[in-house]
Amino acid sequence: MSSTVALWTSIFLGGVAQILLKRGLNERVAQASKSSLHWWLSLLTSVWIWAWGISFVVATALWLLAVSQMNISYAFPLLSASYALVALLSRIFLKEPVDWRRWGAITVICVGVVLIAGR
């Protein structure tokens, strides 16, 4: 696998992972349980939460694979693309309200990340 493919797959999967997590949590918030320990344990029975965990691990492995072969100062700012991706996917799949103020704030944060990491 080329490092560019590994990098973008990692970024995409990392964003998707957050949507999977939130999908699983939404389900568990709806069926609010008695004790908090019970709630934490109930997460382990959610397919969505497991999908999040696996995606997270695979995304991290792909990220390490990518940055071992390319400049971190190039790869790092691209990570901020996942903030926009998460907003987009959460709007489509979770029906979260993402208004222009939120898009504006995401844009500012992305610019900041690029400035921190870029050369």
Binding site: K22, S82, R91, E96, P97, R101, I109, G112, L115, I116
Partner: protein
């Protein structure tokens, strides 16, 4: 949920629980990264000439690396807690504060240089997070 109570009237500690959790999560994750880095700095000095696998084995037994990974894991649990309380499109970009804290920690503890452009980026991320907070007025979950 908010509409039932009427937004403004919500009790402050409850409505800021997600923000508190995400900030703690960022502090734990950054602290974890810095501890791992401190451990690696130390381990690097003795790992010269080892193969990749020997080196990895060497890193994963360093107490600071193990402590860092443990604290990072606690940060992940706090992130799950935060994500259960408010929108993911709102909370996730706030985790960019990780870059800010790790940068500040790098200069504070490891004397890493922060170029001016990098400082501008740090301030920009903080400004973006403040803007994000202001977009939370219509939050429900």
């Amino acid at each position: 949920m908010v509409s039932a109570v009427g937004g403004q009237e919500q009790i402050i500690p409850k409505s800021y629980a997600a923000e508190l959790a995400v900030l703690s999560s960022v502090i734990f994750a950054s602290g974890g990264h810095l501890l791992i880095k401190a451990g690696l700095n130390r381990a690097l000095q003795v790992s010269a000439g080892m193969t990749l696998w020997e080196r990895l084995g060497h890193y994963f037994v360093d107490p600071l690396v193990i402590l860092g990974l443990g604290i990072y894991f606690l940060g992940t649990l706090l992130w799950v807690l935060a994500a259960s309380k408010k929108s993911i499109s709102y909370l996730y970009p706030i985790t960019a504060l990780n870059y800010v804290l790790v940068s500040l920690g790098g200069t504070l503890f490891f004397d890493e240089a922060i170029p001016r452009r990098h400082w501008v980026g740090i301030l920009t991320v903080v400004f973006g997070v403040i803007l994000m907070q202001r977009s939370a007025s219509r939050e429900s979950k």
